[in-house]
Symmetry: C2
Subunit: 159 residues, 2 copies
DNA sequence: CCACGTTATGTTATTATATAACATTGGCAA
DNA sequence: TTGCCAATGTTATATAATAACATAACGTGG
């Protein structure tokens, strides 16, 4: 499926994992097997995955005993908290963060057709939001910007 | 509760309802009693309300027979579809739209402390997002921008 | 090494959110 | 009136998330 943009997906996953390992190590966090597996599964798909899908995949995939919801959610919380994945609220799902070290000032474009979610770093948008917040004297803790529509690939395929 | 900013809330609700009635009438939509009641309840609170809270409120409030989830969701869908309310994804909740006639290019600021959600129209943010989308050749269907943080009022109260 | 506190995971049950599928009602126009 | 269509009602169930408590694994100071 996916693999739309001719990028080497296996490599892409591998590098994301290495990246995550480096980040965890540098911050004194433990990238346990479970965390690593879930991160890998999330990354394996470029489309956001729900917690329950992940549970199933874990069960099949890794021959694990069957991981219960709380375990998955805790793990996802960990990954979100440390910026390794994003929660996609419009889909109740999770997707890998493509630049986990940075400040997470990004826009998530979600394609209606192929469900691919791509994260775009946009200082302009970020700045506009913060100016707007400042005008309200609103102190930003966390922002969430999700745009739903049709990606370039799908638009091309469906004229 | 709320009534933070010294605005006359009753009036504010009333005008929102009148506004909605006008919009429906002009578009040939039916603002039925149920729709009207739910819209009123949503507006009555400036904080986003969940579907199930609304159900309870309907039951107590309007002496109605007890409205089941599908009915509430359908009604909420109608109101969202025609821009009379917004869905707040970060909270799985709904809040009145303060300018239902316009193009809905707005930012929703949600206060962590008092749960108030306020909608701010910001052409700058809107523009930045669309420029960013254009760069990706992404066709925007719907966008969602929610910012969580501390509102001016709460920041003032808690030094 | 081991006793202990801490962090991570397991387990069971439950709550919260949302929709599917089909039945009934009510307005309205031919 | 009849017949259609939109709105609401009803029953059951799917999907998402958390609470509360139990156990295991990890590492540090003694």
């Amino acid at each position: 499926m996916s693999s739309s943009k001719h990028h080497d997906h296996k490599r892409c996953v591998t590098s994301a994992l290495e990246n995550a390992a480096a980040i965890c190590s540098s911050r004194g966090l433990r990238l346990t097997p479970l965390r690593r597996q879930i991160l890998e599964l999330v990354w394996h798909s470029h489309r956001p995955l729900g917690a329950y899908s992940l549970m199933e995949m874990l069960a099949e995939h890794s021959g694990r005993k069957l991981v219960a919801p709380p375990t998955v959610y805790r793990t996802l919380d960990f990954l979100v908290e440390h910026g390794l994945i994003h929660r996609v609220h419009t889909l109740n799902a999770f997707v890998g963060c493509s630049h986990p070290a940075g400040p997470h000032s990004d826009v998530l474009f979600i394609c209606r057709e192929c469900q691919t979610a791509s994260e775009v770093h946009s200082p302009q948008v970020y700045k506009a939001i913060h100016i707007c917040a400042a005008e309200q004297q609103f102190k930003v803790v966390q922002q969430m910007l999700e745009v739903v529509g049709i990606c370039a690939g799908c638009a091309a395929r469906k004229p």
